[in-house]
Amino acid sequence: MLGKKIHILRNYRALSQEALAEKVGVSKMAISRYENELDIPSSGVLVRIIRALETSLDYLLSEEPQISLEFRKRNSCTQKTVAHLESHIRFEINKIVTLRKLFPDGRFKEYSLKVIRIQSLEEVEEAANKLRKYLGMGEEPVSNLVELLEDNGIVVLFLDLPKKCDGIFGKADDTAFIVISNSIPADRQRFTIAHELGHMVLEIKEGLKVEDVCNHFAGAFLINRDHFLKEIGIHRGSFSLIELKWLKRIYSVSMASIVERAKNLGIIDNTTYVEWQKIRSAQGWRVKEPVELPKEVSTILERNVLEAFIERYVTTSQAATLLDISVDTFINKYLVGEEKVIA
């Protein structure tokens, strides 16, 4: 396991065996032997490997949970990128899964969303409403999507994903998770989270375009039909920019998603939709829309670590390691500063 991880990380850092050997101060043969599990590095050499690969002892020596990943990747996403990404995600997910094992059974709500079968695109609307009902939501817009999912046993992580990848979902042991790119705007992040949620809960009939169904689902989940109709009416010939900005703030989705939803619900006709697309391109809104929404954040790791710390499930140094900060920073932030966790 240690050798395999060294191998994966060396590739991730784009280092040859020779380059790593030079950084660590051992022979190329030694690196090869470590990677092939024919030898193990001494504790001192291991420290230098950790430094050279910019990783942590915990990651290199941890047992990895069984993680299944489903990528929403574009065709141009290379195998190498996928391998790097997997390694990064496994590292982050591993932290939460390992941490949660220290808590008493039943402390965290397990993922329990039931699969909804989709035979046609028309059924997506009902599926979104069904899920909303199951999650105890009404027609109102989702104010905090990350919190909603985390309360229902889905871990949401924001990571630096390659440009070619917006979102990923998967399962690690019993923990369901969605990983979202840090670098995309807040509205796209929310839409992607809802899209990945669609991948998780929908069982889509063969022949239907899975990505289209999940996009449709994301729109229906984030913008409830009845609520939307009350806001903008049953038929519209056009929208003003002010109204689109206002709707964007209400639903926390992009203006493009709002117009798309209006088209899908038959509120606007195809001519209006095409006209909107032209304006969108001409104004440069495909790249950047007016109104920047605040990004949602995931605090799950921080909250879990602090709870584990207070309950003495982890030591100070272990808590700092999990949060990827020094003990000094941990103490100054949580034990001395304004956010101190001990009264």
């Binding site: 504790s43 003495r312 140094s317 020094s326």
Partner: protein, 173 residues
């Protein structure tokens, strides 16, 4: 005596401003290379270790990683790998383990047949046996150490110790 301190203990001594005093001690202080180099320790502590030649110990045996992992498993993953490496070294080299997380590592040390003491034992040694710190320095150190000590036995013991030392000071002892 050769003493190997856990990470938290090193940090407490650093926060308590007592690191320099250690250099006057009759004891030899050791730190594992995992503890010394790890990102988790503070920059100030790392500089002190480097500048003052606190001896770093390394392990090379074929099964040391499995042994450290086994030890950690016994703490139900509550202790860091660095601290478990310290426990492993204490066992292999027959060093005395000094731990701040006595309720996790102390119990483990006992199971592993390692002699283990807590931070108060070390501070008492420095005050009473070696006279390398004063009562005031001890009390001040406790104040600083308490900042990062959670609820639990050690916190109670430190507070009690501070009261005892205060009374002792009043009596002019």
């Amino acid at each position: 005596m050769n003493l190997i301190l856990d990470t938290s203990c090193w940090i407490s001594l650093f926060r308590g401003g007592l690191l320099r005093k250690l250099l006057n001690s009759k004891h030899k202080f050791l730190i594992t290379d995992w503890m010394a180099e790890a990102e988790i320790i503070t920059q100030g502590l790392r500089s002190f270790i480097d500048l003052n030649g606190i001896e770093k110990i390394s392990t090379e045996s074929k099964d040391y990683i499995n042994e450290v992992k086994r030890i950690r498993k016994k703490t139900k993953e509550k202790a860091s790998l660095q601290d478990c490496h310290g426990v492993y070294c204490a066992k292999v080299y027959s060093y005395l383990l000094v731990s701040n997380d006595f309720d996790i590592l102390g119990e483990l040390a006992e199971e592993e047949g390692i002699e283990c003491r807590d931070l108060l034992w070390l501070l008492d040694q420095m005050l009473d046996d070696e006279n390398i710190i004063t009562t005031k320095e001890y009390i001040d150190a406790i104040d600083n150490i308490l900042i990062d000590t959670r609820f639990g036995q050690l916190r109670k013991l430190l507070i009690q110790k501070k009261t005892d030392l205060g009374n002792r000071k009043k009596k002019g002892d």
